[in-house]
Amino acid sequence: MRYVLNRLGFFVLSLWAAITINFILPRLMPGDPADIMFAKFKGQLDPAAMAAMKKAFGLTDKPVIVQYFEYLRGLFIGNWGLSFSNYPTPVMDIIKHSVPWTIGLVGVATVLAVIIGTSAGIYISWKRQGILDNTLPLLTMGIQSLPYFWVALLFLFVFGFKLNWFPMAHGYDTSVTAGFNWPFFSSMLYHAFLPGITILLGSLSGWLVGMRNNMINTLGEDYVVFAEAKGVSTSRLMFTYAARNAILPQLTSFAIAIGNVVSGSILTEQVFSYPGIGGQLTNGVLQEDFPLIQSSFLLIAVSVLVANFIVDMLYSRLDPRVRTGGAANES
């Protein structure tokens, strides 16, 4: 229990720090966003209009501490400000429309990469020096070493443009009606295939090689050898004895990967014109849309923190030593 409270306290503290840094950083940047907007009008705007715009953007002359509490309050009631580049659309709307696509695409691709990579890692470690063990790690590492947006462009060109097997853009076909129906769902999967496979291939090797090496280490441990000698069944030996311990480092990586879902696919989404947050964030940065940038970064920070918290909790279930600070004799 103390461990849980401890972790929870750390979570809240780091969340507060992330939120606060997010508040301070844009205010340290040179140039006022209203000036940038003003510049866009190339001098046709009255100074009165500029004052009105500053007000609309929430750029007030109030004391910083007041602004800070208004910002905190806005965060909690879902008022994340209005986007500058898509003024007057609330940032919340942009995020609401794009984040689910990213979580769907990158989230599923990441989870698949973990499942496939980890199981394949277990398998090839068991069949060590087999044909798969000799080829798979090399092959996946080869793909991973290519820049992922380059792979995305290559796939787009070959499978979308030349062979015409897959659509080249968008999250689903514009002729189907979005909703809970099979034509939409199949169209969505069809459109997600190319960007999904790019992300999957780009991250598979880490999971595969990581798990394989952990397994090989664990399988060499005395207790595994002893269990094997005692005649423990193969599957039990593999999963309960070896994999349970070998999977711990994978879990840590998984937390980081889940945390990076929101930010990890920016270029892939751009290449495939996928309606996720990645493309929005790129545009936000290009157009200096501070509320959008700020909210996206906050989202990324929060997802990393939440994922870490969940894995911390999970870790304590899997490995009792973390709860007790190394005193191994509790359980």
């Binding site: 009255d46 009105a52 794009s98 599923v108 853009a169 979005a178 014109s273 899997l318």
Partner: protein, 562 residues
């Protein structure tokens, strides 16, 4: 075993959660029908206007998901809002210099050119069936007066009052004649009073069900695609053959370019390197492009800088720059080299006969001689030093990532180095670039000029001491007077006379150094429709992004019979 189950459960949960969230997302992107009772028709098979042709796929801008906003006062409204859905009274084209009447049929300067009198068209209806009246126009301009944030053209700075003279005539009164300013009044999109009276501040309103007078209306909207369909109540509906306009969202030039080459896009305006090979050669019969010049790109010297204030230095810089090399290396040969007056080819009637054949030529020896005669001496490092002992070493500002201009800057740097002027290119972000050049904290900068339906706008902004784009800080009472002369008259002969004074300033004073004309990007396929503007038929600004020009182009399109 327990652990394994726990892990599987966790992974299953994550998976289920993602699927669920995707489901949520899809709900928010549900297709919407508009105010009318007609159902969305995506098949294009049996709608009332389908007999006239197929839908047109248009990519006007590239950049992320669409945001559901069709507010003509908003600078980030969806393309088509201005021109296709809401209409201005007139459209004055910047490429063809033609004038196209929309909600008005006539405009006239009266009262010593201090009043703009506009006569409105009869029999116009809003797309919801309500009649369009002069009160709607009065209401729209009253909105601008009440909410300055919506008045992005600064109309109320110039217009002192406006009044309804009769049921279809409105007068706009100026404190002093300003004929070229009329374009902002004439091109202001007009909104319906019966709907907008309840919307409050127009700069903050989000409009998802637009009701306009234009030839098209919103059919359906999703963040990755929106469709416009023909407005059956439009007063000139017969002129529009295209029944449906489809605007898919693209995130990157790469994917849009591939889609264009594949034939998924019929009309777009984007930069494509080597367009003949990449696009035209794929389907020579149907794939076309036309890149007419739209606005002069300049090398701006900061005239507050004591060395750049010396006309000899500016002349030497101009003489050393190889503009043909810039056009070929940086602009793929698409950009035409500028005339020394900076006057666009479409305004050739304004060019003083003595400058008709004027051309920039590279003359390194002449540039060096000019500097030496003015008292500059080369230092041991080959860089000139001014009589006051300052090195001719300048920074050159360009927006980072605007690759064609960055390349232009590299060419300029090399050219100037040859004659003994040192240039260091700086590439700040757009916002920082704007702050730097507007706050005259720069030496040299490459930048655009503003375009307009006549040459006035470009030079008023560039050269007037209070000009909106006078970033070089030029100030000359005679120039201001010439510009005032131009704006006070409707007589073309007097306007030309005033303009030739401006041309003298441009050629002899070099307040800004013309480089080349920035091209309009425009590619189209004639597979479904013909009648797009091209070099032999330059009736309108051709790109699909320069609103409201597409309303003109669409009215000229004819379906290909098959």
């Amino acid at each position: 075993m327990k652990v394994k189950r726990g892990l599987t459960l966790f992974l299953a949960l994550v998976f289920a959660l993602s699927v669920f969230l995707v489901g949520c997302g899809s709900k928010t992107t549900e297709t919407k029908t508009d105010t009318g009772s007609t159902k969305t028709n995506t098949g294009g098979g049996n709608s009332s206007t389908a007999a006239t042709g197929q839908p047109l796929n248009i990519v006007a801008t590239i950049g992320g998901n669409w945001q559901d906003n069709f507010n003509p006062f908003s600078t980030s409204a969806m393309g088509g809002t201005n021109g296709l859905i809401y209409q201005p009274m007139y459209y004055l084209d910047t490429v063809s210099t033609n004038e196209y009447p929309f909600l008005a049929t006539k405009y006239e300067w009266i009262n010593d050119n201090k009043t703009l009198e506009v006569t409105l068209r009869d029999g116009v209806k809003w797309s919801d069936g309500q009649p369009f009246t002069a009160d709607d126009v009065m209401f729209t301009f009253n909105l601008l007066k009440k909410y300055p944030a919506a008045d992005t053209s600064g109309i109320m700075k110039e217009v002192t009052s406006f009044e309804k003279k009769s049921d279809n005539v409105i007068d706009f009164n100026f404190s002093q004649p300003n004929v070229p300013f009329g374009v902002y009044i004439l091109q202001q999109p007009i909104v319906p009073q019966h709907i907008w009276k309840d919307l409050g501040d127009p700069s903050k309103a989000k409009v998802t069900n637009p009701v306009g007078t234009g030839p098209y209306m919103l059919d359906s909207f999703t963040p990755q695609d929106y469709k416009l369909k023909k407005n059956p109540k439009y007063y000139d509906a017969d002129s529009y053959a295209v029944p449906e306009l489809n605007y898919p969202a693209y995130d990157s030039n790469e994917s849009a370019q591939l889609a264009l080459v594949k034939g998924d896009i019929d009309w777009t305006g984007m930069f494509i390197p080597n367009v003949d090979k990449v696009y035209v050669d794929q389907d020579k019969d149907h794939n076309h492009y036309w890149f007419p010049p739209s606005n002069p790109v300049m090398l701006y010297p900061n005239l507050k800088n004591p060395i750049l204030k010396d006309i000899n230095v500016r002349k030497a810089i101009s003489m050393a720059i190889d503009r043909n090399k810039i056009s070929q290396q940086a602009e793929d040969g698409y950009a035409q080299v500028a005339n020394p007056t900076g006057m666009l080819p479409q305004f050739k009637d304004f060019i003083d006969p003595k400058y008709k054949d004027a051309k920039f030529t590279v003359d390194d020896a002449g540039a060096i001689k000019l500097l030496q005669d003015a008292g500059y001496k080369k230092g041991s490092d080959g860089i000139f030093v001014s009589p006051t002992g300052k090195k001719l070493s300048f920074t050159l500002q360009v927006v980072s990532g605007w690759s064609d201009w960055v390349t232009s800057c590299m060419v300029i740097t090399q050219d100037l180095k040859k004659i003994g002027i040192q240039v260091k290119v700086q590439q700040p972000q757009y916002g920082a670039y704007m702050t730097t050049i507007q706050g005259d904290k720069y030496d040299l900068a490459i930048g655009w000029t503003n375009g307009g339906p006549t040459p006035y706008k470009t030079f008023q902004d560039l050269l007037n001491s209070h000009g909106a784009w006078n970033i070089e800080k030029y100030s000359d009472p005679a120039t201001d007077a010439a510009l005032a002369e131009y704006q006070s008259t409707t007589d073309p002969a007097k306007q030309k006379e005033a303009m030739s004074k401006i041309e003298d300033v441009m050629v002899n004073q070099l307040p800004a150094i013309p480089l080349f004309y920035g091209p309009v990007w425009f590619e189209y396929s004639s597979k479904k429709y013909t009648g797009f503007p091209d070099q032999s038929n330059t009736y309108s600004h051709p790109s699909p992004y320069s609103w409201p020009a597409p309303a003109v182009v669409l009215s000229k399109l004819k379906p290909v019979s098959n």
